[in-house]
């Protein structure tokens, strides 16, 4: 077995364990700085990945653990994606550090362990690794969610996430048991060979649906979305940000692998199911976001809607659709992290992230106000930002399939209606920032150097992806060639 295949995961795990060790000898005031070490380490691993790891050519993917683990273009794309997300989340965590009363180093280490789970998830080629990676992510997030033990809201969010997360795990494991019992294999390749003969077996299909339920919980799609608003609201801001982007993307890479690698024959008969989930998520997320006053809760509901948009690309059942999913996730990464960085910095003094607390932000800090405006515009899909081109690609992929099946037209219409609804609540946030008259506190907001850097990176990412989509789109198109 080639250990180099696992280099990303091993380096991240070593970094996490190293942080825990160093923590033993560090005096209390210095612990906060440990977050910068973690971010720097993650950055170096990302650099190593970009410079030293070559994208494996098509058909020459590397395998480890008797084909349980695969390193192909898709895995590598998502590994870099997760490393970038974790880097920005770690910078955000340092900013948030004064609101965490104890165990700060553990917080950084847990972010890295969750990252390791995501890196493994990107490479899963077998239900055993899929399960282990997903649980590494989920269990770490139970702790990260309830990390502010002095706040009841944080604990309550943790318990709710725990119960619903464990329930979805149980569903998924039982589904895997049923699929295994009928196909006698846990590997995706083996299942692809066996699934053709089992396509008509109801128990097998039921097992697959249970597995989809488990993955649907991770990507927060209707009807498995019930935990999202509460957990997003109660969790510490960096956790929410990581949950919104990392956990969702991990769910999507596993969904893509299961649907198109393990059971491609059956997926080809399921576009209606995927369309239903996608349409329901778009409608539910956008409609429920309208009355929200809590910013994190609002972003939670909008996250459900975005899971619906992303499912459009999966439901299109085409390579263009899958590439659009990867592109949209890249744009979503910068947008979500920009929004949560602003929430973290601007609402430092306020308990609870009420929308009204943003009033007068353009006078307190023009940079934060501009960032939030750009993020909201990108969420809503206003050109020339990343969100616009992502939505365009997704809808284009769906419309390309429409001549074969009229339902795609309805889905496109539904998605467009969702986008129009979302304009209302996204621009309500912008309205509060610039035109609200109830600003009470007009003191300038200090922004630390690393956070400024993170904000610039997010703005640059949103604009670059929107103005020059070609680069990332090529990468995404290359990456999805790993899926047949």
């Amino acid at each position: 077995m080639n250990t180099l295949l696992l280099s990303h995961e091993l380096l991240v795990l070593a970094l996490g364990l190293g942080l825990l060790l160093v923590d033993l000898w560090l005096p209390l005031p210095a612990k906060r700085k440990l977050g910068y070490v973690a971010a720097l380490g993650t950055g170096l691993i990302l650099l190593y990945s970009l410079v030293c790891v070559r994208v494996p050519p098509e058909g020459a993917a590397g395998y480890a653990f008797s084909q349980m683990y695969v390193l192909d273009g898709l895995a590598l794309f998502f590994k870099r994606f997760f490393l970038l997300a974790a880097l920005l989340v770690l910078l955000l965590s340092v900013e948030f550090a004064d609101r965490i009363t104890s165990g700060l180093s553990e917080y950084y280490a847990l972010v890295l362990f969750a990252l390791a789970g995501m890196l493994f998830a990107a490479s899963a080629n077998n239900f055993t690794l899929l399960f282990a990676a997903l649980e590494l992510i989920t269990i770490t997030f139970y702790i990260l969610t309830s990390f502010q033990r002095h706040r009841v809201a944080s604990l309550e969010a943790g318990v709710k996430y725990l119960v619903i997360g464990a329930l979805s795990t149980a569903f998924m494991v039982f589904g895997i048991a049923l699929v295994y019992g009928l196909s006698h294999t846990l590997s995706f390749d083996g299942l692809a060979r066996a699934a053709g003969a089992l396509g008509g077996n109801r128990v097998f299909l039921f097992g697959l649906v249970l597995i989809l339920a488990g993955l649907g919980f991770k990507i927060a799609v209707v009807p498995f979305q019930i935990w999202v608003p509460d957990v997003y609201q109660g969790a510490p801001v960096p956790t929410t940000a990581f949950l919104a982007i990392g956990s969702k993307a991990a769910g999507f890479v596993l969904l893509l692998r299961v649907l198109f690698l393990a059971v491609p024959d059956i997926t080809a008969h399921w576009p209606h199911l995927l369309m239903l989930l996608s349409g329901a998520s778009i409608l539910y997320g956008n409609l429920c976001a309208i009355p929200q006053r809590n910013l994190k809760r609002l972003l939670g509901y909008s996250g459900i809607a975005h899971a619906g948009y992303l499912l459009l690309g999966v439901a299109a059942l085409s390579a263009a659709g899958r590439a659009a999913v990867l592109y949209y996730l890249s744009g979503y990464l910068f947008t979500v992290l920009a929004a949560f960085t602003v929430i973290c910095v601007a609402l430092r003094q306020v308990d609870g992230e009420d929308l009204g607390a943003l009033a007068g932000l353009h006078r307190r800090s023009p940079l934060l106000a501009a960032t939030m405006t750009l993020a909201m515009a990108s969420f809503a899909g206003i050109p020339p930002l990343a969100g616009f081109f992502g939505k365009f690609l997704l809808l284009k992929a769906v419309l390309e399939q429409a001549p074969a099946c009229a339902a795609y037209y309805y889905l496109t219409f539904l998605a467009l209606a969702g986008i129009v609804i979302s304009l209302y609540y996204y621009f309500n946030v912008v309205r509060v920032i610039y035109w609200s008259a109830n600003a009470t506190d007009l003191s300038p907001i200090p922004i630390s150097g690393p956070i400024r850097l993170a904000i610039y990176a997010c703005i640059a990412g949103m604009l670059y992806l929107g103005l020059f989509p070609g680069g990332i789109l090529n990468l995404a198109t290359e990456a999805v060639k790993a899926l047949p």
Binding site: T128, F131, V152, L155, E156, V159, L162, A170, G181, P229
Partner: protein, 101 residues
Amino acid sequence: MNIGLEHYLAVSMLLFCLGLLGVIARRNLLIIYMSLELMLNAANLALVACSRFTHNLDGQVFVFFIITVAAAEVAVGLALIVALYRKRQTAHVEDLTLLKL
């Protein structure tokens, strides 16, 4: 009577449904948590039975992973429930009403 795979699977399905019923119907967090573990064990039983009757060891290996993960999940979960109990003096789901619209 000869006990075959379907008997094991029937018991496993029964356990799974009992666990699900517990999660839905009970109101105490600890009992909900016990029911969740019961659901995981139902899956374990199904996996071991399938593995035994098809002479394929993958399923039994997978069960070891599930047991390990379930242990980690219980450790985190109970700690969380205890921390919540210390704050709120309650382990009932009706009292978790801080976060809502």
